[in-house]
Symmetry: C2
Subunit: 266 residues, 2 copies
């Protein structure tokens, strides 16, 4: 079962398109966790225990672990291991936005897919397909390629017109038509612009999108669902990070977001 | 003294534009180092000791450390610390090709510039300037932005025509004219196409380029120097990784490459 099939099965099992982003920034952890020897691991276990029944996927943002050096790296690996043990059918995403030349990409791919054991990774298309090939060659793993990101300045490069069309459209087409021969590609598509979501859906058939930008970044759930669902009523991995993990009641926040998403599913 | 000034001073001190890439892949280390408890650190110390007199900069490729987990991360930090202690004036570059949204980029910037303590980092422009701003705000540090990379498929995205001009030209202009207000930007410009090197030099004045692609990747030293030197006779950080560190005689390889470069300097 490849990463996309794994996600779809889990999405059906827990009736959810929700991904919880474990952006477990040490500086923002509740004080109760700071006394632990491994505070990020303790916090992640708490969040996973509280929210897993509402989540089809979990996304780990590498930045918030590596900033704590070897100790952070170890807690990333241990958190992932805990998740795999307790919820082996949940999709695990490494948000690392990698993109490098061949032998370096091969090392990153081994690090993320094999040593850490993630199901999927986010990737940057700027270096072209050959740079991502070491990732694409893992046919059972998911390659989630940046298409339209949710930061305020995303347009600066991604909206540049190439033969009259924005660069993000070309990336969407290239991934769907050329880079996806192992059927393991997905795209990052921001929640913040429903028109673009609709166009990318039209260009890519039933491809699955990882969707950042809900909540704090202003994306509207109803618009995302209306424009983004694929023909199977899935095709979206809707991420929320800080809005859930730093909520007073993470379980309640996750349950509420799952419900808000499901309200607009067929 | 910012990172670019630091590089220039070191380049003059050791009469060199050479950067040595510590792509210290565990699988390729000489057997003698594999018995060490910290083989990557032992190897790096050996390479640093042997080659520093010929090198203006050292570049650490994160992939080859993080693939070994927390132990690799620790050896990366220790290798950098060793370099700082013994050759504090050598420029240290983290080859990480980062690019992410704001709060994530802030964590990466703190990780690389403060926790690890690198002088400079490689960055990916695909998310736009605001994504790189947390790096750019460290005015004493160097931000080396991908413009034209050296992988065979670099053209796929970077050569796309925007208003009749390749994307790499727009990236070069944006960085030189808009992103560089702290005077701490540099560019990655491949050695493999001298015509493009000449055009990027013309677009960016005396900006400093990190130049991959010499040697194994086919770049020609004379052509790089003829097209890439800036008006001060520097402006190039010419990287060689495997060709030096895995040579039978790393000191000899570094000395020879420095000499081959200097032959074409004014």
């Amino acid at each position: 079962m490849n990463a996309i099939d794994k996600y779809n099965a889990r999405a059906d099992n827990v009736d959810s398109l929700l991904c919880i982003g474990l952006d477990s920034d040490l500086a923002r952890l509740p004080k109760a966790f700071l006394n632990h020897e491994t505070p990020q691991l303790a916090f992640n276990r708490h969040i996973i225990d509280a929210t897993a029944e509402y989540a089809a996927a979990f996304k780990f943002n590498i930045a918030f672990y590596e900033v704590n050096g070897a100790a952070g790296w170890r807690q990333l690996a241990q958190s992932l291991e805990y998740l795999r043990q307790h919820h082996p059918d949940a999709l695990t995403i490494c948000d690392a936005k990698r993109g490098d030349i061949g032998n370096t990409s091969a090392a990153y791919a081994r690090s993320i897919f094999i040593e850490l054991g993630f199901d999927a990774v986010t990737l940057n298309p700027f270096l072209g397909r050959d740079a991502l090939q070491p990732f694409l060659d893992y046919s059972g793993k998911g390659c989630i390629i940046l298409c339209r990101t949710s930061n305020p300045g995303a347009a600066e490069i991604q909206d540049l017109k190439v033969a009259g069309r924005p660069l993000w459209q070309l990336v969407a087409e290239k991934v769907a038509r050329e880079w996806n021969d192992q059927r393991n590609c997905m795209l990052v598509v921001s929640a913040t612009n429903p028109d673009e979501m609709a166009q990318i859906r039209a260009l890519t058939g039933d491809m699955t999108f990882l969707v950042p930008g809900i909540g704090a970044q202003g994306g509207d759930i109803e618009a995302v669902l209306k424009t983004g669902l694929n023909s199977a009523g899935r095709g979206l991995i809707i991420n929320s990070s800080r809005g859930i993990i730093f909520a007073d009641d993470p379980a309640g926040a996750a349950a509420a977001l799952r419900a808000a998403i499901n309200e607009h599913r067929p």
